[in-house]
């Protein structure tokens, strides 16, 4: 799932990761590098973008491990206002 402006950058709200679990952060970044723009990749790596797995926020995104069927969401900062 790509939320907020990341959806525009990805050109789609969500995308299946066609790779065999388990996947770690390096696998995810590698997959993003193949599928999407460098701008998206930079944004996702940035410290302001948080990550949730199946709706639960991940404290340390670089330490994540994805299992089969997990929903990974990239969350840019909320807009406030």
């Amino acid at each position: 799932m790509f939320l907020g402006r990341l959806e525009e950058m990805a050109g789609r709200p969500f995308q299946d990761i066609a790779a065999s679990a388990p996947l770690d952060w390096t696998d995810v970044i590698g997959w993003l590098g193949d599928c999407c723009s460098t701008a998206l990749l930079d944004a996702v790596r940035g410290e302001k973008v948080r990550v949730a797995i199946n709706g639960a926020l991940v404290a340390d995104k670089e330490g994540l491990i994805l299992s089969d069927g997990d929903e990974l969401a990239f969350l840019p900062p909320v807009s406030g206002g």
């Binding site: 939320l3 402006r5 949730a52 709706g55 969401a73 840019p76 807009s79 206002g81």
Partner: protein, 147 residues
């Protein structure tokens, strides 16, 4: 009990507030905040997007924190998601309490935290172009008041 709702269609704030008031006849005071899309200023439409597994649970969690902090008879939190036009309601918060001070503080706190911490991403249409709205410094200052 708190009434916390995330809506994807327009709602009628007067009817909601009226029902909330009728449900709390033992409260001496009810404070409400209604946020609406501003007319004028060039905004043609506002879009809020949410992430189902996070947004509503976080709103419920905020409501629980508010109930813990102040003595309330009732708390109402309604937030829209989706595309809204000028003068359409975005958010309604109402707090019913025996003491006026509790109702004011609870509604104020709920709004500061809803605005700055809720999982909503916003974009605005101006001159036919959509643009994303970035976080504002003011929001962090608003929250710091409650530390």
């Amino acid at each position: 009990m708190s009434d916390v709702r995330l809506l994807t269609a327009p709602f009628d704030p007067a009817a909601e507030l009226s029902a909330f008031t009728a449900a709390h006849p033992q409260a001496g005071g009810i404070v409400s905040f209604l946020g609406q899309v501003r007319e004028g200023g060039g905004c043609e439409a506002l879009e809020l997007r949410h992430y189902e597994p996070l947004t509503l649970p976080a709103m419920r969690d905020l409501a629980a924190r508010v109930r813990d902090r102040w003595t309330l008879g009732g708390l109402l939190v309604i937030h829209r998601s989706g595309v809204m036009l000028p003068a359409e309601p975005i958010v309604l918060v109402a707090a019913a309490a025996r003491h006026r001070r509790d109702a004011f503080a609870a509604a104020d706190f709920a709004m500061d935290h809803l605005k700055s911490e809720s999982w909503f991403w916003k974009r605005e249409k101006q001159g036919g172009e959509w643009r994303w709205i970035e976080p504002r410094e003011q929001d962090f200052e608003d929250i710091a008041r409650w530390a």
